[in-house]
Structures are given as structure tokens and as C-alpha cells.
Symmetry: C2
Subunit: 203 residues, 2 copies
């Protein structure tokens, strides 16, 4: 059976970078945004919209009072469901390719549990996540620390919410992962040999 | 500065075995029961009693209604406080020895924070902890699964309670550790190289 590593991560913790570097070091395939793009393509929808929906950061923020609005909300909910179903189909198809891979996010740990993946959770303290977000932010994004901290919380809340749609295994609950790694103040690159050793142990 | 590794662990997770094996592999000193014994010696008290008190598994389970009982409870509380103070003094003296060491339990991660220890949390699912406890239990201990599961919860609750006496950093909250490792179904011995790699990265 192919070796599958899933990486769940707090926004700003560097989990994506860690996943990419680990995949490169091990010669594993790497999936993250590629999944979003494929969902967007299959659904004929904008990748940005799809990402917002799948990450749970898209919420219905208008009053649901009139018949027509209900209809609209219903259609929207249907869209969300369809996109989630497409995403699950794509992730399961990936696993069937039977090649070693790292998948970041997307509740792949739950969706692919039959493949006995190694599940890693990456987290960091707020200060460290703020610093990383600042460093990675587009130059035209001028959020205050308070706004950025709120954004980080919102993204993570969205991830937890989306996860609850497909499983009762709470996002970020250490029980659901084999290893939880704190990247506060860490040089992500230097963590790769540690994880590689753990991969060797697990598979 | 000496390298200090602290291991906090759920009861039955194999954290103690992992700590001992890691210390042996690295050539570090190892402290666990030795601290209890030293506290007992310095306090002129029975090591079993001291262990119960320091692990928080000793609770006042009689009605506190009469003046005399209050006095008794007061004296008991004073004992608890004295033992905790002695324990802290001993742990800090250990760190001052300036030798590399692994310390299991005793909130050493908090007490020795000035030494920038590597803090590891070890946990496992209930089934796995039950199996480990059964395997390690004295032959004359005949607890049912339900009783044993309750004991495990009680021990961990005691650890969390004792920790709250000296810090607001919650026991078992991943934010307070550099690495959290799930030993469900694990062969503890095989985990040692993973942790050794992590130690190399951290220090």
C-alpha cells in the first residue's frame, strides 16, 4: 500500500511549507492547492470561490427572511455539498493512484483512514503565526495585528467547521493525530529530518 | 547550558518507558521516582504517601464540618504545600547540576522553563492505555476494564490538578509542549530514534 502522510495545520503555523519540504525530501508526491484546482475545474467554478467554500470561510451573511432568500440559501448549501462531494471523490482517487504522497489539509486524515495514513498536526503560538503571516502576506495587505489574529482564528474556525461536516473527529484534537508538532520559533527546514525519521518509524 | 528534556504523559501511555529509553540512548541522566524518593527522605515521610500527595491522587474525602476537621484539613494542606515546595527545590537543584537529563512528570517543564527544556507530551487512546496498564499491573491487582479506565482518568486528573497549583499552563494542552506523540499501538523502543532526531534539532 502507498504511504500517505496527511498534514493538518493551524493557519500560519508553516504546516504547508513543512509538508512540501517533507515531500521533496522523501520523494513523495505533494497535494494541497492542486486539489482545489481540480475541484474548480470539475465543477466549472472559480478556484478562489471553491477554496473559500471548501475551507469553510464562506458563510451566509445575509438575513434569511424571505422565500426567495431561502431558495438562494438552499442553492448555496447545495453548492457547498456538491463541492465537498467532488473534493472527497478527487482525494480518494488520488489515494488509489497508489503512489507515496503528502496531502496538506482537506481532512484527508479522515477521508483516507482506510489507507492508514500517518497523520501530523502542525501548530504554533499566535505571535509566531502572526510573524509568519506578515512575512508571507501580499505587499498590499495591510492588516493590523489584531485584524490578522482575527483572520487566523477565522480560518481555523472554518477548517474545524468544515471538518465537522464529514466527521466527529475534532480538528486540532491531538487524539486524532500520531504526532503534533509546535513550530513556534522553529526553522521549518530543520524540522524535516525529524519528521523523516518518524515516517521511517511509522511505515 | 545543560540539555534538559521533560516528558509529561498520560497514565498508561508509556511516557516513562520512552523517557528512560531516550535517556539511555542519549547518555542523559534520568529522573522520575528518584525525585519522589528524595522528597520523602528530606521530609521524613513515607515515599508512597509522598507520591500520592505530589501526584494529586490524595484528596480530602471526609466531610469538612467540624472545627477539628478544619484543623486537620489545614494541617494536611500545609503538608501538601511543604512537599510541593521541597519537590520544587529538589528539581531546581537537579537542573543546577548542569548535566544533560530527562525528567519525567513533576511539571518540570514549567519549573525549569528558564533552562529552555525540550518539552514532550506522550498520550494514547484508552484501549492502548488499558492494555499497557494490564501488562504492567501487579499480579494481585484485579481491576475490571471499567475500574482501570476510571483509575487512569483519576491519575491524569490528579496530575492536572497538581499542575494548576504551580502554573496556569494546562497539563496536556499541546500549546505547552514542543512535541506531542501518540503511542497508540506503538512499540516504544522504536520511537526512540525519532525523538533522538528531534533532540538533535532542538538543542
Amino acid at each position: 500500500m502507498a504511504r500517505i502522510i496527511t498534514i493538518s495545520r493551524e493557519f500560519g503555523s508553516g504546516g504547508r511549507e513543512l509538508g512540501k519540504r517533507l515531500a521533496d525530501a522523501l520523494g513523495f508526491e505533494y497535494y494541497d492547492r492542486e486539489i482545489i484546482d481540480q475541484v474548480a475545474e470539475e465543477s466549472n467554478m472559480d478556484a478562489g470561490f471553491v477554496e473559500n467554500v471548501l475551507d469553510g470561510s464562506f458563510s451566509i451573511n445575509f438575513p434569511v427572511t424571505f422565500g426567495r432568500t431561502f431558495l438562494y440559501a438552499d442553492a448555496l448549501q447545495q453548492n457547498v455539498t456538491n463541492l465537498l462531494v467532488t473534493e472527497q471523490k478527487i482525494i480518494k482517487a488520488l489515494a488509489k493512484k497508489n503512489v507515496d504522497m503528502v496531502i496538506v489539509g482537506r481532512s484527508a486524515d479522515v477521508l483516507l483512514r482506510d489507507y492508514k495514513p500517518l497523520n501530523i498536526f502542525v501548530y504554533a503560538d499566535t505571535e509566531s503565526k502572526l510573524a509568519r503571516c506578515r512575512w508571507r502576506a501580499p505587499k498590499n495587505e495591510a492588516l493590523s495585528d489584531k485584524e490578522l489574529a482575527r483572520k487566523i482564528k477565522q480560518v481555523d474556525a472554518g477548517r474545524a467547521r468544515q471538518r465537522r461536516l464529514i466527521t466527529d473527529k475534532e480538528w486540532g484534537d491531538m487524539k486524532n493525530y500520531h504526532l503534533c508538532i509546535n513550530t513556534t520559533g522553529a526553522n521549518i527546514k530543520n524540522l524535516v529530518p525529524c519528521l523523516a525519521e518518524f515516517v521511517k518509524y511509522y511505515f
